[in-house]
């Protein structure tokens, strides 16, 4: 059983939701990423989403754009990102790690070589600019190496596309909560619920909701209708604020995530709806 599947099954048994935490690898410096990853899991993160920095992150807002710029200033390459996951796995063999990024760095590395290198270390890949129409080749390679291909779904995704995507997807689905870029705050819970109901008609796969979830309150609002929430820009903002002051960064990140995790674990309304 894959780490992702095991993670969701265990949470489901306890009637709990997953907390997925995003950071950009190499931000503020490649030597800090491992420590931040451990801080994420210490604070209750169930799945780590590790961003592969890219020079042109067209789906990201200013917070993650700047994180990419900081990581690239220190030359963080895909090879470095894989190296960080390798180190992480020396002490953590259970927390799923999903790489999230854009196609070009992977394509230049070589899709097959990438899959072979990360097999067993990385559990899933989200390629923001690789919709199902363009992803079939990469997805079949990932499958060969037991890596889940995780797809985005959006408010604009039609029933027909939901079906096509759920047919191809594995691991979990990532629902983008609004039309926009990461870090914006315009989440509308009613429309998220309605769309997730629509997606549920096509699949039993776990559904994560991301974009616009920045604190315990927003997490609680959407958690009722999905299996996982993704927190990204809120964490990256803390890293941006404290830079390489690791004690300050990790303590503030942990307190944000603990608050969110507590809200997810202990809020009656969430568990009842699920």
């Amino acid at each position: 059983m894959s780490r992702i599947q095991a993670c969701f099954e265990q949470l489901a048994q306890n009637n709990k939701k997953a907390l997925i935490s995003y950071i950009t690898a190499g931000d503020p410096h490649p030597s800090n990423t491992l420590e931040i990853m451990h801080a994420l899991t210490d604070a209750g993160t169930d799945i780590i989403e590790l961003g592969i920095p890219f020079s042109d992150p067209m789906a990201d807002g200013p917070v993650i754009q700047l994180a990419c710029e900081r990581a690239l200033k220190h030359g963080t390459s895909l090879k470095d990102v894989i190296g960080i996951v390798k180190q992480f796995r020396q002490t953590n063999t259970t927390t799923p790690v999903v790489l999230m990024g854009y196609q070009n760095p992977i394509e230049i590395f070589g899709v097959e070589k990438f899959a072979e290198t990360v097999s067993g270390l990385v559990d899933g890949v989200i390629t923001v600019d690789l919709p199902p129409e363009e992803s079939q080749q990469a997805a079949s390679v990932y499958k060969q190496y037991d890596i889940d291909t995780i797809y985005l779904l959006a408010p604009t995704t039609s029933d027909q596309r939901i079906q096509m995507i759920t047919d191809l997807a594995s691991g979990f689905l990532y629902y983008v909560s609004f039309k926009g870029i990461t870090g914006a705050s315009q989440i509308d819970v009613n429309s998220v619920e309605a769309k997730i109901d629509q997606i549920r008609k096509h699949t039993d796969m776990p559904i994560a909701v991301g974009f616009g979830i920045k604190d315990a309150n927003t997490a609680k609002l959407v958690a009722g209708c999905c299996n996982a929430v993704v927190v990204g820009s809120a964490i990256v903002s803390i890293i941006a604020e404290h830079g390489k002051d690791m004690p300050a960064t990790t303590s503030e990140v942990k307190s944000l995530l603990r608050e969110i995790k507590d809200a997810l674990d202990n809020d009656e309304t969430i568990q009842n709806i699920a």
Binding site: S55, I108, E134, L152, A154, T156
Partner: protein, 408 residues
């Protein structure tokens, strides 16, 4: 005609495929949120293509608003000076707003109107596409926002003011390299946020499908006219075509109607900057490698880790690390030869055309003129070359003056 060439010609006619691929290039590499809007645009464009009223409105606007057909002008003095093939200029610089860009913005704005969109956005490098978008927005009464790299805003001040006069909001982009590629990223971010009421007018034959297709179709008026004018004026097809290539819309516009004519040689001129060997240039077809950026797979300027690298050109309009996917395909197929011209050579051509023919060319178009000089000398006097004079140079006089140490 060899079997191989024949096959290429047949392929050219059916490119791109139904998913927007030109061979391995092109496609639709965007976040899921944009997939449905792109499919809607594709469907609307397909419907408008077979709608005579749409075509009529487009043709009428090109005739009466843009001032088409643009002349095909025999540059007699230049031809004599260079001492080789006869040089003809396709005068896109005489279009309303001073460049070929308006052909495309009119087509896309008519699509926006058809789709009921009330707001248009655009990216711009040199400012010509921004001006053309602001112009058509003013005429149709649409809100217009133009994204422009903060550095480009500095070097293209007159065009920034023109856009503002036309009622557009010009938004400086300070992320990344603060030039055209970053303006494109920012426009895509705006579009994904405001997709319900907003139409994104992409200025070149790049971006996700169907943009490379529809921009090409709107620009092929250049080549169709040139073909007819050549037959009228010289009794034959030209022997060679020359156009500058940044994203490549003026070049595709000129070349595409001649793709079935293998005997007409086609030359796309990339910006060689300080020289391709220095690494400071904008010539992905000559010195780049295939990758994925801005919604399509194409030749890119990138490092070994797949990060997009900064480009350099004297001309803001050519200062872009990618190129339209159809050009990548045409390069691999060998139907078009892609060459480079340095900043210095382009600048010399800028002055030469200005002094010999009384035409001030855009720095972008000056690259095509510079290569034409080299080419003309290798051809005989009975042969003809059509060079696409894609824009006029008024916008560049500050840049040229600065380089020559003159304060205006």
């Amino acid at each position: 005609m060899s079997a191989n060439v024949k096959e290429n010609v047949m392929n050219a006619a059916i490119m791109p495929d139904e998913r927007g691929h030109f061979g391995v290039y092109g496609g639709r590499f965007v976040a899921e949120t944009l997939m449905t809007p792109l499919q809607e645009l594709e469907a609307e464009y397909a419907a408008s293509k077979v709608d005579p009223s749409f075509q009529k409105e487009f043709d009428d606007d090109l005739a009466h608003y843009v001032g088409r057909p643009s002349p095909l002008y025999f540059a007699q003095r230049l031809t004599k000076l260079w001492g080789g093939a006869k040089v003809y200029l396709k005068r896109e610089d005489l279009n309303h707003t001073g460049a070929h860009k308006i052909n495309n913005t009119i087509g896309q704005a008519l699509l926006a109107k058809r789709m009921g969109k009330t707001r248009i956005i655009a990216e711009t490098g040199a400012g010509q596409h921004g001006v053309a978008s602001a112009t058509i927005a003013a005429r149709l009464g649409l809100e217009c926002v133009v994204y422009m790299g903060a550095d480009d805003i500095q070097r293209q001040a007159p065009n920034v003011y023109r856009m503002r006069l036309l009622g557009a909001k010009v938004v400086p982009v300070t992320s990344g390299s603060r030039t055209l590629k970053d303006a494109l990223n920012e426009a895509l971010r705006d579009w994904v946020t405001n997709v319900d009421n907003t139409f994104y007018i992409i200025g070149t034959v790049a971006g996700p499908h169907p943009y490379p297709l529809l921009v090409r179709d709107f620009q092929t008026v250049i080549g169709r006219e040139a073909r007819e004018q050549s037959l009228d004026q010289t009794g034959k097809l030209p022997d060679a075509l020359v156009a500058c290539v940044g994203g490549g819309s003026n070049a595709i516009g000129l070349f595409h109607p001649f793709l079935p004519d293998a005997e007409v040689k086609k030359y796309g001129v990339e910006a060689g900057g300080d020289g391709v060997e220095t690494g400071r240039h904008s010539a992905p077809l000559n010195a780049g490698s295939p990758g994925v950026l801005h919604g399509n797979r194409t030749y890119l300027m990138e490092d070994n880790n797949g990060q997009i690298i900064e480009t350099h050109s004297i001309s803001a309009g050519l200062d872009y690390p990618g190129v339209g996917p159809e050009h990548s395909w045409l390069k691999d197929e060998g139907s078009v030869e892609y060459v480079t011209v340095t900043d210095d050579e382009a600048l010399a051509a800028f002055h030469q055309l200005t002094r010999i023919e009384g035409i001030i060319p855009a720095l972008e178009s000056s690259h095509a003129v510079a290569y034409t000089q080299k080419l003309a000398k290798t051809m005989d006097k009975e042969q003809t070359i059509i060079v696409n004079l894609s824009g006029r140079g008024d916008k560049d006089i500050n840049t040229v003056a600065r380089i020559e140490g003159i304060e205006l």
